[in-house]
């Protein structure tokens, strides 16, 4: 049936000894099985030789350092080509494409602390209320942008730049700004507004 050997079953040699009635054939090892075994051994020799003996390939650490450097370069290039200032952010905050994209990011990430209502502590959250005209770290669009990107760790605001990337941060800031108006009065306090 399944055998590759040319000898018919009647000529299969059984080992002379039996154990509790169990007998054993002494078939040769299947060639494909042996080939698989040898191939994996050869792979070990080649892999170890390349990475550990000759040190021809990069280590884990070299590989990640290189990849992260490439990403940093990509981000720097993107930043340089973006015209980002208060007025361009205000402009984006009136653009429904930016605002809608920013709303999705805000509700997924920021609403954890600031709540989907944006009212933060005033709505049971632990983040600042973003609906008032009182700001902790500055209320100009670029202030918001820098606060989100770099975080204010002592106040519990994480740095979202590395996680979200510039595009999503701009969108989220545009979404927050869409609840405000250019030129509205604003004040700065050093602690979060009380409930």
């Amino acid at each position: 049936m399944n055998q590759n050997t040319p000898t018919p079953p009647s000529e299969e040699a059984l080992r002379p000894h039996s154990y509790d009635g169990i007998q054993e054939y002494d078939k040769r090892l299947p060639n494909w099985w042996l080939f698989t075994f040898y191939a994996t051994i050869a792979f070990w020799v080649g892999y170890w030789g390349y990475y550990e003996w000759l040190r021809a390939g990069p280590s884990n650490r070299q590989r990640i350092e290189k990849a992260m450097a490439a990403i940093e370069a990509e981000k720097l290039a993107a930043t340089a080509s973006t015209k980002l200032d208060n007025s361009s952010l205000w402009e984006m905050s009136r653009n429904p494409v930016f605002v809608e994209a920013g709303k999705a990011t805000f509700n997924s990430i920021c609403a954890t602390c600031h709540k989907e209502s944006l009212r933060g502590v005033a709505d049971g959250g632990i983040g600042a209320n973003l609906m008032t005209q009182t700001w902790i770290h500055g209320g100009n669009p670029m202030d918001l942008y820098n606060t989100v990107t770099n975080g204010v760790l002592v106040k519990g605001m994480p740095a979202w730049g590395p996680v979200l990337g510039q595009k999503r941060i701009i969108e989220a800031v545009a979404y927050v700004l869409s609840h405000h108006h250019e030129g509205e009065p604003m004040s700065i306090v050093s602690t979060p507004a009380a409930k």
Binding site: D20, I22, Y25, K27, F37, W44, W48, W53, A67
Partner: protein, 774 residues
């Protein structure tokens, strides 16, 4: 020459006991499994109760199915088959009973400690140290009973099943003892002797080989006895069994580091783990081939006999898992699959498919032979098979899809690969919820099949009389017949052993030697291989004769087996342990915890946080984008035990310290959904009301100092003052944020611990001294 005939009655009572225990504990272990699977979808099923919470029950599930289901099944199979294969009754009725009841006592004590947070914080090695000692004692009892029986055997030659049992007994003893070395701080708590990267290496040397030598080799032995018996066919190939046995036990031990790929484990260990895992593929499939090809000519039984159905499917699942294992051990595949449900699919293909089905096949075959009645219902056994098979396929299919989906989402980047596509971890969790639900259904079906077996077993044996097997033994004076056993020189100085030792020695010289030594090692390895092959071709007969003689020499066989399994561990673990750790980290060194942080860390271990949260940012772009700079091995060097984790049901925590305010953690632990909408994490609200136990801290810090953590010689009062000071600071900050909690509550300690995760000091490299990373 006088030939005396005597009748030996086997000790089948202990077989029956272990068999029943396996069925009962198996049901309990899998019931817990179905519950915790459901908890991942429905957090309400944690019932806001600590001992019913996922992270407390998960160790109970894993320990129960490994040590209670498979353990008891293994002892039943080993005891039944060994007595018949060596034509002797088990050496000691007392040891057999002691073994049985002692093992059940261990299982009960595990069930009474794990859910209540008594844990060592290392997977499958969670049991606290007094139970560890009991396990060692019971394992020694098992070993003595087994080898004593071999010593009294009336069949001089050892069958292949016995080889696997011997490998199991010596290797599990070695693994278990080394990985459980610890210094107690109280009757219920201890710190692992190894910390950080060393602990990680030893743990996965143990964890991987617990799979190998507890879940695989004994079951292969059981397969070699019960499968040819049930099929009524000779074993396919003796040659294959020799080659796959020795290659399996030698190669398996080296593969442990594949659990730590792309982590801060030194690169050479990762490369060994990956390449040896690939080399393990063929030896494993040798076992599958010998199982499946033994069924040649007996396939007609597959349609009618449930025993053959279970065995054929079990061996097929073994083949599938042992192909999947090497695949997952490839670094790039592992980058996707590690920490995801794909690994859960892999282990359940092995445990449900291989262990569970081999157990069921064996049990159905044994029932009519251990009791005086035939099996109650073959139809029910067939139903069990089909229900179980559908259950496995649903389970494994769901987890494959889930693991690959979540892995792809977690790794997805956009904007030219500079940012994550799914920055919110919960998006990836909620994407796999339907698949996690399908897994619950699959698991429940499998459990239903198990209950069918329990019912069938109960109907078969109720009213039946237990029967013990007997055998007629013709004892010729002295029992040693031709071929003669080996002398010391005979089992050391012979071509197979000499060539193996030289070849491995040369290969190690190539891998680890300096310039000249490594080239000499490479040449020597190749020369050794060529000479060994030509010698074997020329003197096949003498190699075969030598092995026949080894098979009648149980002690040399055991010693050679031990040497084969000890090599890999020694070469991997010794260099990592002897290097002075703190002086030899790359560029960063962990800052020792303050007393309060240490207390918080013990809570983190107690609550089983490591079962869902890793503390290891891999050297992979998506990991670094999501969690921050990749983890260095120096950053966890003082962690006893290490908490790198193996599964991410939630995000990594290696750099969570300082990311969120204290109040975030308080609210999140009290009710994760108040912070993270859609989270499936259980509530840990009791941490807000439990008072922190600081009485053991001085002893714990003293032990940490013994273990090499550079704590000053604090007095008890200094420790208490430090704790009090830090507690008050955190409580004040919480109060300022509108959260009121007494400063002496457990949550404050846990927050202290979480907030310092990821803190380190810079180290100026000393230059020439070898480091752990080399």
């Amino acid at each position: 020459m006088s030939v005396q005939k005597s009748t030996v009655e086997f000790n089948d009572k202990v077989v029956r006991q272990f068999l029943l225990a396996s069925v009962i504990w198996g049901a309990v272990g899998m019931l817990v499994g179905v519950l915790i699977a459901a908890q991942l979808n429905f957090w309400q099923l944690n019932f806001n109760t600590s001992f019913l919470t996922w992270s407390h029950l998960r160790p109970l599930h894993t320990n129960a199915v490994i040590f209670a289901l498979v353990g008891n099944m293994m002892f039943a199979g080993v005891y039944y088959s060994t007595q018949r294969l060596v034509k002797a009754r088990l050496a000691s009725d007392f040891l057999s009973q002691f073994h049985f009841w002692g093992w059940q006592a261990i299982i009960v004590s595990a069930a009474c400690t794990l859910p209540f947070g008594f844990t060592r914080g290392q997977e499958y090695a969670e049991l606290i140290w007094p139970i560890n000692l009991a396990v060692v004692v019971m394992w020694v009892v098992f070993a003595v009973n087994f080898f004593w029986t071999l010593a009294k055997r009336n069949e001089p030659s050892l069958y292949v099943a016995i080889w696997f049992y011997i490998a199991t007994i010596v290797t599990v003893a070695m693994l278990y003892i080394v990985n459980h070395l610890a210094i107690p701080t109280s009757w219920t708590h201890s710190y692992s002797l190894f910390g950080g990267v060393q602990n990680a290496l030893v743990q996965w040397w143990y964890g991987h080989n617990a799979v190998a030598f507890f879940l695989t080799t004994p079951i292969l032995g059981i397969m070699y006895y019960f499968l040819p018996k049930a099929a009524g066919r000779p074993v396919y190939s003796y040659k294959l069994s020799v080659v796959h046995f020795w290659s399996l036990v030698f190669v398996y031990i080296w593969a442990g580091p594949h659990h730590l790929l792309n982590t801060s484990l030194p690169g050479w260990l990762q490369d060994l783990g990956m390449t040896f895992s690939l080399m393990l593929w063929a030896p494993s499939w040798g076992g599958m081939l010998n199982g499946l090809l033994t069924l040649r000519g007996g396939w007609d039984k597959l349609r009618t006999d449930p025993v053959i159905k279970f065995f054929a499917a079990g061996v097929t699942f073994y083949g599938m898992s042992t192909f999947e294992g090497p695949l997952l051990a490839i670094k790039s595949v592992n980058a996707l699959a590690h920490y995801t449900d794909w690994i859960i699919a892999h282990v359940h293909g092995g445990t449900l498919g291989w262990n569970g089905f081999m157990a069921a096949g064996m049990i159905y075959w044994l029932i009519p032979r251990l009791w005086s009645k035939p099996l109650h219902s073959t139809a029910l056994a067939n139903l069990h098979f089909w229900v179980g098979l559908v259950g496995i396929l649903l389970y494994v299919g769901a987890m494959w899809a889930s693991g690959i989906t979540q892995g792809l989402m977690l790794n997805a980047t956009s904007e030219h690969g500079t940012v994550l596509t799914y920055p919110n971890f919960l998006d990836t969790v909620n994407a796999i919820r339907p698949l996690m639900l399908m897994r619950v259904i699959g698991g429940a079906l499998y459990l239903a099949g198990w209950f069918l077996m329990a019912y069938n077993l109960w109907k078969s044996i109720s009213g039946a009389k237990p029967v013990n097997g007997t055998i007629e033994v013709f004892a010729e004076e002295p029992a040693h017949q031709a071929p003669g056993s080996l002398s010391i020189a005979g089992w050391v100085l012979n071509p197979p052993v000499v060539f193996s030792v030289l070849g491995i020695g040369f290969a190690c010289a190539w891998m680890f030697g300096g310039h000249f030594l490594s080239i000499a090692g490479l040449v020597g390895t190749m020369f050794c291989a060529v000479v060994a092959f030509s010698h074997f071709e020329a003197k096949r007969k003498s190699w075969g004769d030598w092995y026949d003689r080894l098979l009648v020499s149980a002690v040399p066989f055991t010693v050679l087996t031990f040497l084969a399994v000890v090599a890999g561990g020694l070469i991997q673990i010794i260099p990592t342990i002897v290097i002075h750790k703190a002086a030899n980290v790359e560029d960063r060194r962990q800052i020792p915890y303050t007393p309060l942080e240490l207390a918080g860390r013990d809570l983190y271990v107690r609550e089983g946080c490591y079962l869902c949260h890793s503390q290891m940012i891999r050297t992979l772009v998506p990991d670094v984008l999501r969690y921050g700079d990749y983890s260095r091995l120096g950053e966890s060097i003082y962690d006893h035990p290490f908490q790198w984790g193996s599964k991410r049901n939630g995000p990594d925590l290696a750099r969570v310290g300082g990311k969120y305010p204290n109040v975030w953690h308080l609210r999140h632990m009290e009710n994760p959904r108040s912070i993270s909408t859609g989270s499936n994490m259980p509530n840990f609200a009791w941490l807000l009301s439990n008072k922190l136990d600081v009485s053991t801290l001085p002893r714990k810090i003293a032990v940490q100092r013994q273990l090499g953590v550079p704590y000053p010689q604090w007095t008890d009062a200094e420790i208490a003052a430090s704790v009090d000071d830090q507690q008050k600071k955190i409580a004040k900050d919480l109060r300022d944020s509108g959260a009121y909690v007494d400063s002496d509550r457990e949550i404050v300690a846990l927050i202290a611990y979480l907030q310092q995760l990821g803190h380190y000091e810079k180290v100026v490299p000393t230059g020439t001294a070898p480091t752990l990373a080399d």
